[in-house]
Symmetry: C2
Subunit: 105 residues, 2 copies
């Protein structure tokens, strides 16, 4: 139930964000992704594993290759976690800010 946190760490890496966005455009095979990126194919594989463990992508075999695409469930969970995170933080912050306003001036 805390894998959403790993999701945030997963997307903190710029290369993984790029991979994520590439996969958003369309499902892709590993070699296909690696062709567009300045890193080796094994490196892409490792990034994909992190994204997969974070629940952000899923893969399926397609004959010779392996197709990766976004996992809407995991992405939705991460978004929900973030929304909750912002809401909790900002409402608490604003509550104190308003309280403080009275004695600031």
């Amino acid at each position: 139930m805390t894998y959403r946190v790993d999701g945030l760490a997963a997307l903190a890496d710029p290369t993984r964000r790029t991979i994520f966005e590439r996969l958003a455009e369309r499902p892709r095979a590993v070699g296909d992704l690696a062709g567009d990126l300045p890193i080796s194919r094994p490196a892409v594989s490792q990034h994909l594993r992190v994204l997969k463990d974070a629940g952000l992508v899923v893969d399926r075999p397609a004959g010779n290759r392996r197709i990766y695409e976004l996992d809407l469930d995991g992405v939705g969970a991460l978004r929900a976690y973030l929304d909750q995170f912002w809401n909790r933080s900002l409402t608490a912050f604003k509550a104190v800010a308003e309280q403080g306003d009275e004695e600031v001036s």
Copy 2:
């Protein structure tokens, strides 16, 4: 203009997320924060610097101490970046998904 990305990396660390949430509850001094955390005061200072560099918190001197609190501008910028990130990714993904539906069945 890319500091929002650093913001994501800044919040990827669990300790920094905790600090961020503590600061959302109310502005705090460094030693105050460190008292509640299982790490040393210098470590807290270093985390605060990362958060500050990411534009997520601001600090001001208050006599002997130094008070940290959330920076709504930076937080808003990060939220905006994330919203855009999700929107771009998910709309692209769904567009392909619908396109694919026609030939899937």
